[in-house]
Symmetry: C2
Subunit: 194 residues, 2 copies
DNA sequence: TATAACTCGAACACTGGTGTTTGACTTACC
DNA sequence: GGTAAGTCAAACACCAGTGTTCGAGTTATA
């Protein structure tokens, strides 16, 4: 099985299957946060036993899915230029990563019930910090309101993003409109009081 | 059992227990949307068999909890004066019902996985319509922005409300601050573009 | 091509939930 | 005070999911 020496090189098809499984896990968990191992294995086009050959438990698979998603997210954020006007920076941030973030928070929900809180926090600390930095910078420059704590502004963004994803999933919101709607709501919400 | 003639008067302690069970269901389901019948029965201080004596299934109990919550919510909305400035109306609406709405959406989440969509929609149609009316009136009066559909404004309010409740539940947000923070975010988000 | 790595279906044990029955007990209410 | 109504613990059948084992078959790769 894959449970050999850590540094050992595994067969190509095995590595490929691991990828397929994680992909399928992200896909299934995004749709329903309590997707079963059977569903995920089937979606990956792989037998259940094979899955357990690569991941010792459902929990570890969820952790792998979350890790991959957050790593991707961090990578996207890394490539963005967020140094200009905080408002346009926020706009580009939302536009370029909203789907990813939405998926991540769906998988995150699955993880909440299964992984220790500390582990979860450690995993999404980096991307979260980036958003937080952008917000506090905006506040310092007087472009974002300073009468509410940055943590709440970040939280509100998160909730709207997640909610928009849910709306898209259940057909209430056109995916075409989603990022624009989110941006406009959030930018207005962040504007200093007149 | 309670399963006798529809109009028959049941014993006082039985009626009382039904109340206790629904209370406990709301309480438990608000905390975790997949609370078990055992947990709910225990929280109600009642045996499992007694619970099944009053509700034929877990699903029917969830429906009862949701119905009661939404009826309460509608009652609260009914008593409010929402005829003045839409902004202050929205403020009073949020302040007086935010906890109720937050609970309702937690129970709603439990219901999503269990009740037919049509049933759910029928149940929370009235309170939702009231909020919708307030928003469209605000838009008509030019106090709320008209460049985004009312459905999305309502949806965003819902998501922020629900998210704030989640933050309070996990200790990230002071329950004292919550309604004010929500109001300020949402009012700003609803303000017409300058 | 030989062999180790991998896949996979079938069957198993285990857990935790739902819903039911039984029979003895308690209690509201006439 | 008698009785119907209600409570409840224990035990049951059932189901769906997790995780494991086995053994036979397939395939990458050296």
């Amino acid at each position: 099985m894959s449970r050999s020496v850590p540094g050992a090189t595994r067969r190509a098809d095995a590595r490929q299957n691991v990828e397929k499984i994680v992909d399928a896990a992200i896909d299934c968990l995004s749709r329903s946060s309590d997707a079963s191992v059977v569903q995920i294995a089937h979606a990956a086009g792989v037998g259940r036993v094979t899955l357990y050959g690569h991941f010792p438990s459902r929990d570890s698979l969820i952790e792998a899915a979350l890790t991959r998603l957050l790593a991707q997210g961090d990578e996207v954020l890394e490539d963005l230029d967020l140094t200009g006007d905080p408002r346009t920076a926020l706009d580009t941030l939302i536009r370029s990563s909203w789907l990813l973030i939405a998926q991540a928070s769906a998988v995150l929900e699955a993880a909440q019930t299964v992984l220790p809180p500390g582990r979860i926090h450690a995993l999404h600390a980096r991307p979260e910090q980036r958003v937080r930095d952008l917000i506090t910078r905006g506040q310092a420059e007087g472009v974002f309101r300073g009468d509410l704590p940055a943590s709440w502004l970040a939280s509100a963004l998160h909730h709207v993003l997640k909610g928009a994803a849910a709306d898209v999933a259940n057909g209430t919101l056109d995916p075409e409109d989603a990022p624009r709607f989110v941006t406009q709501i959030v930018l207005a919400a962040y504007t200093p009081r007149a």
